[in-house]
Amino acid sequence: MEGETLPADQDVPRDDNKPRECECNAEDGSLVSMDWFPDDLLEQILACLPFADLVRAGVVCTRWRRIINSETFRKKLLHGVSHRPWFVLHGFLGQPACAYDPVHNVWCELKLPRFEFSLYSSILGFASSTGLICVYGKSEGGIGQLCVCNPLTRICRHIAPAPSVESQLFATLAISVSRTTPSYRVSLVTSKIPPGIQVGYELSIHLYDSETRMWKTCMTEYMRIWRCCNESAICDGVLYFLIISPSTASRENRYGLVMYDLSGRCSNDLLASFVPVPRPHGYGRLMNMKEKLVLVMDIDRYNGVGIWVLNGREWREIARSPDDYFPGLGSNAWLRSCGLNDLIYIWSGDGHDHPSPYIATFDMNQKQWSRNNLATVPSQDYKGFCFEPQLDIVP
């Protein structure tokens, strides 16, 4: 039986048919080649697999399933991931997202729950944090929809009622997942033109708490010249977001940062907390890097990118991109960035469909820049965000 039962993988023919030392025979006499591996060796092999394969591996036999589901294995597996989170690209509605895993240097498909998202006729905001992805969009009829999901386990929760979507609404979404309790908060900052008013915007901050399962409108304020734009982040219980003054002709002070303490303890006069961005003309990207607020923005019209961290009410520059990373681009140049934990991803392009052929990364821990041309962004329509895969977090 020995010669014929081992199904030949075409590329690795057996070179001898003698029974091998320490191979166990199954009851029917066929050779079983992997069963005699001790658990720790099998663990080591399985830990080399990218996530998608790992989940499929759990179906092979009870032993593999037991190993993959074990606490020690998961800890080992996800240890590297939290320092170097995935970079997720989401294109248009209905298409699967792609996730780049920097630890294994592979792309894999991340199937966001399509059925649920088909309710959305347009997506207004994406946010992600440890384990969870959050989407805010509009369904037919302008009903606001908000969904939080763990894309690995496909568990999805619709959070209703979400603040409704009206025309001329600007919104930015942020999510903060607690590391100590199984809870999370979703913030939604909106600016809309109130009816009957010619000038100015009404800014509102809405907060959802997964423990109370309720939305709360924390504040609503009329602002004559400012509105929110696309960037917000929650760090250490404080919501930060960029505001823009679109009618300001001069480039000075067109953008600024404001902050709102979500615990509601301090008095929250938004404009009193205003901090101008470090480069007056530019539009930056905000991110939560281990509970510090980090801003990535261009320096002097794409002659390089700078990274700042907020200390109190001041920006401290912590890094600048090497000279050849982001050379000066044309007037259609765009810059995008996202980051989580230790890793920041930055990508740019010149014009709508001419992205740069690589994504640059900056490791906050090692203070190291690198370029990766395995990861590319097809065009600026794709939303990229960072995601730390976790199996245990439930929306």
């Binding site: 039962t5 081992l6 199904p7 993988d9 690795v12 023919p13 057996r14 070179d15 091998r20 030392e21 320490c22 199954a26 066929s30 050779l31 079983v32 080649s33 992997m34 069963d35 591996f37 060796l41 080591q44 092999i45 399985l46 080399c48 697999l49 990218p50 998608a52 394969d53 989940v55 499929r56 591996a57 759990g58 179906v59 092979v60 036999c61 009870t62 032993r63 593999w64 399933r65 199937k111 894309p151 690995l152 386990t153 496909r154």
Partner: protein, 155 residues
């Protein structure tokens, strides 16, 4: 500081291999027994037969030599050499894993485990079972439950 001290390793099937000490100590197990002085000469290597021990020694020799070379270009050559080294049949590969584990040679263990992981990648569960001759010991109900748990991976 290259030492030209030689040691003799004795495989489980009685064959002797004379190697430089600097190569032999790529194995932490052997290094420990030399340092403890408990090894004697030749050093017995149970559980590893001559065919596999020869391969392991070949690997260690290559890696010790490459570490001495100062030219960093060798890194790519080494990666290519490693890739060739693991182009062996499945049984030999598994024996190499066992040997690397027993002899505690981390780089060889990482390399061989990654090679097996690469064989697992991209295969359906049924293909995995075929490749590694694994018996599906789920009951039909359990299998259905696991499939449902991992729905997203199977769509």
């Amino acid at each position: 500081m290259a030492t030209s001290r030689k040691v003799t390793l004795l495989s489980s099937d009685g064959e002797s291999f004379e190697v430089e000490q600097s190569v032999a100590v790529e194995s932490i197990t052997i290094k420990d027994s030399i340092e403890e002085g408990s090894a004697g000469n030749p050093i017995p290597v149970p559980k590893v037969n001559s065919k596999i021990l020869a391969k392991v020694i070949e690997y260690c020799k290559k890696h010790v030599e490459s570490a001495k070379a100062e030219d960093r270009v060798d890194d790519e050559d080494l990666v290519a050499w490693d890739a060739d080294f693991v182009k062996v049949d499945q049984a030999t590969l598994f024996d190499l894993i066992r040997a690397a584990n027993f002899l505690n040679i981390k780089s060889l263990l990482d390399l061989t485990c990654q090679t097996v992981a690469d064989m697992i990648k991209g295969k359906t569960p049924e293909e995995k079972r075929k490749t590694f001759t694994i018996r599906n010991d789920f009951t039909p109900e359990e299998e259905e439950e696991v499939r449902r748990e991992n729905q997203w991976a199977f769509e």
